[in-house]
Symmetry: C2
Subunit: 496 residues, 2 copies
């Protein structure tokens, strides 16, 4: 696997005592307040940081940068490779791209790590034993954002799952579990329906799990798995999932643990890492000294570990736990009978307790001298033998009679060397032998196959498309049908 | 919109007193036991049913029918158009298609309706006020099951969302809410990321909502919406979502309400309806007279309403509630200090209470004489003006240098009339002006566009593909780029 010619994140320089360059953005809404609180705590705790500030968010979008970031800011990010980010306000409406998705994907931040912990009785929760870490694949799945509308009625989004993507996130989850003394990694997918894509994720997870015999590995179907998490989160330890499921699961986990104001997250890649709170810019709270800085502070704790200052991370984290225990809380997590403090006062309370340990809640330890958590690369694999069976041609066709469409297609395609074998509508076979009850849209798939497996060619596909065009058939997309080492790389039609 | 020439489900004949033909399948595992219990209760309650049994599931798969159902069974389903189905055991491994998905899609059962209700204190729950109905789109989204592997590294699944599909499910949700005296319908999507597909669902929901000013309509992003449901289900009333989100949400809702053994579901379409418990065949409980028949029984209650026997539905449902109140329970929902009864004894206890009303839990009423709940069809719309801007060509290409690939593509495509404007890898723009940190797979998208919007043609696409093939470039899929009434029907690249 080719990797760009860049040195790795300079994670170990921190232990030498020299300040580590870190890019910081104060963001929008409550962002500046919680960033200020966080940086004050870090400084008081002795963090050795050389902060470089960049501007992102509303003001930058307003200056016409559709992703909310300026070219100069990329330069800082690519040099420091460590980003402590406050939340921003994403403008509504089309034309704007999510800054987070852009940064994650451009910098290859493939792992989104989100610990969700309950702090009973100091933060009210129905799930006092909860201590779950969600490791979410951060770059692919439906979040690739590749969408097409191709007929009057039907729109499409591509879900992409790659083998190296699966391998890296699975390996990261196991490495993380081992490093943090956790005992189980749970994979969640919907591979009973999506046998190729989610099936790949599940299969690679199982392969990787074999390299970690010291850890328990299990798989849940994501629907019942999410339900189980919502009901009995103590059944889980580390959870690893594709992007979309992880997005939902991690919000469920954060919410039922206590408050979205309490959780931080790390976005980790081979070349860089970004640390942020899980919540947004909460514009209604902005400027009132009322927001909880804890999410960003715990994200900063993860950053300190990442840049090789674990002793500072430990000091901050334990002081924060001691602060919770002292009943000092912002309004969002105030228990019964405790008056809330403001953002600044909360940060002061944490600073006052630097050096203290919690007494009821378990104290954390981040052992010094450990090398940075390995960011896995995918194993090089021999290329499978790839042959072509045919092509799925998708058509925009208004008439709703599948038999008539089949007749048109067979006439137009006659002589190409690829035979029409099936027509589906939204995945359901409607020809041959369809049911009249099947609801049909104006978006049809016609499967053309060579009579011998592996004997089709791209030239035949081009020829077929040329003939369909001449016959006035509006082909709107194609999907090649391939075998890899003899095994078909495409699903059957529903009802086939 | 064309609809097949079939008369509607004969829902109103039940009120005349004549038995209504109903197809019944006993399924696998605990299926036969819970079906037996359910049919005994229905008979005792005076349901007028002419039962036709069909066989589905394990035995049928074993006879070589890859969808678990035989041709003769379809005949009964298509004639009675009402299906009371026990769970089946789906064989593991490739080559088998989900029977449920096949039946839903072949019969056009677009709406999956699942009420999730808490029964405190009789069934332990953390959410005593919960009373939510999930209305899940049942036919499209990723569950179309259209998957392709096209390179060594990357697999793909298509997410399809159609306008008529969105309109029918949204309208069904509002009709359902009105009929059942509910006040709010909540839509959940991820349209901040998937602006075309989930955006369509959200937009159509808003359009349909305007026809129901008596009902509150709201939208949540599905990640935080699922978290809210898991934490505070009493904030919701009726929820309507695309297929995948609905699958997850409805399992969360059923689980936190009390038990998966308690919920039934209806799968409703224009021509037919299927009623089943939400749980599976629980093979470990089979043959022990231990399973809870409640899920199937409540599904049968929905069936009775559907076929025009609401007075029988009401009698069964209230007797069931009175049974819960009496502390009669199967082992899965036994509260503290109550001994469990078996499947048969539970059914007997319900039969003993036919005619009784619950005293603590609210009694249900199903008013007689109402016409069947209208199953909406989609509104006919004028066809938008469609023009073509170009094509996205996806390539299997092993070298990871985007600039070199761009040079090859430009040389090969020279003279076609479509210009290379962008290359992305998993949706992220890598040419022009990519970042070296972006992780690249062997799956590339090259966007070719006409210099003037709307001026591209299919013939140019064929010509382009022919030239790419000749240059040895392995195009594995294409997606046409269109405008509808002048508006682009395709997304930008991330970072574009
Ligand atoms: N990573 C990011 O930059 C990021 C992430 C998510 C959202 N956003 C953006 O943020 C903006 C607002 O989004 P949103 O309102 O959906 O979500 P949000 O900013 O997370 O706020 C939702 C609610 O959560 C509470 N909350 C969040 N953070 C809190 C804190 N630190 N302390 C106390 N309470 C807190 C507040 O509740 P009360 O009102 O009840 O006090 C707030 O109204 C949007 O523009 C969105 O696009 C950015
Ligand atoms: N519609 C369908 O036909 C359908 C739906 C889902 C699954 N399935 C199939 O069913 C098979 C088993 O799947 P699964 O084990 O994942 O899910 P499941 O059959 O729903 O069973 C999971 C567990 O839920 C409990 N349970 C489910 N129904 C119950 C009932 N009526 N009374 C008491 N307890 C009940 C049992 O828990 P305890 O063991 O703790 O008692 C059971 O082991 C698979 O082959 C699956 O494909 C079919």
């Amino acid at each position: 696997m080719t990797t760009p010619e860049l040195s790795k994140t300079n994670g170990s320089t921190g232990t030498t005592g020299a300040p580590v360059p870190v890019t910081v953005a104060r963001g929008d809404g409550i962002g500046p307040e919680i960033m200020d609180a966080t940086l004050r705590v870090l400084t008081a705790a002795g963090a050795r940081l050389a902060v470089e500030e960049i501007q992102i968010g509303e003001a930058v979008y307003a200056r016409g940068h559709s992703a909310g970031i300026e070219p100069g800011a990329w330069e800082s990010l690519r040099r420091t490779r460590v980003f402590l980010k406050a939340p921003i306000t994403t403008p509504q409406g089309g034309g704007f791209k999510s800054l987070n998705v852009t940064i994650r994907k451009s910098l290859g931040l493939f792992a989104n790590v989100r610990p969700c912990v309950a702090y009973p009785p100091f933060v009210p929760t129905r799930h006092p034993k909860m201590d779950v870490v969600i490791v979410r694949e951060n770059e692919e799945d439906l979040y690739a954002g590749i969408e097409h509308r191709q007929t009057d009625e039907v729109t499409q989004c591509l879900k992409l799952i790659s083998r190296p993507g699966c391998e890296r996130i699975a390996r990261y989850a196991f490495e993380y579990a081992r490093r943090h003394g956790r005992s189980k990694v749970t994979c969640m997918t919907k591979d009973n329906i999506m046998k190729l894509t989610d099936g790949l994720f599940h299969r690679v997870f199982d392969e990787v799990a074999a390299d970690y015999p010291d850890l328990v590995a299990e798989h849940w179907i994501v629907d019942i798995g999410t339900a189980k998490l919502a009901d009995t989160p103590e059944a889980f330890d580390v959870i690893v999932t594709p992007n979309l499921y992880g997005d939902v699961l991690s919000d469920v986990a954060a919410q039922i643990a206590g408050s979205v104001g309490l959780a931080g997250s790390a976005n980790v890649g081979e070349h860089a890492a970004m640390f942020e709170a899980i919540h947004g810019s909460a514009p209604t709270l902005a400027g009132q000294d009322a927001a909880n800085p804890s999410g960003l502070l715990l994200a900063a704790v993860m950053m300190l570990v990442h840049i090789g200052q674990p002793e500072v991370a430990e000091r901050v984290h334990n002081a924060w736990l001691a602060t919770l225990e002292a009943g000092v809380a912002t309004a969002d997590v105030t228990g019964p009978g405790v008056g809330p403090v403001g953002t600044r006062a909360f940060a002061d309370a944490v600073i006052d307790r630097l050096g203290q340990q919690p007494t009821t809640l378990p104290a954390v330890t981040y052992p010094a001298g450990q090398p940075q958590l390995a960011v896995p690369t995918a194993t090089a694999r021999p290329a499978p033998a790839k042959t072509m069976d045919g092509v799925d041609v998708f058509l925009h066709h208004d008439d709703r009679d599948p038999d008539a469409l089949a007749a048109l297609l067979r006439e137009a395609g006659d002589g190409v060397g690829l035979d029409l074998t099936m027509i589906t509508n939204r995945g359901v076979k409607v020809w041959p032998d369809g049911l009249p009850e099947t609801f049909c849209t104006d978006h049809w798939r016609a499967r053309f196959q060579s009579s011998r497996p592996g004997a089709a060619s791209r030239a035949e596909v081009v020829d077929l498309l040329r003939r369909l065009d001449r016959a006035g058939l509006d082909f709107v997309k194609t999907e090649g049908l391939y075998r890899f080492d003899g095994e078909p790389g495409y699903s059957l039609g529903q009802g086939q």
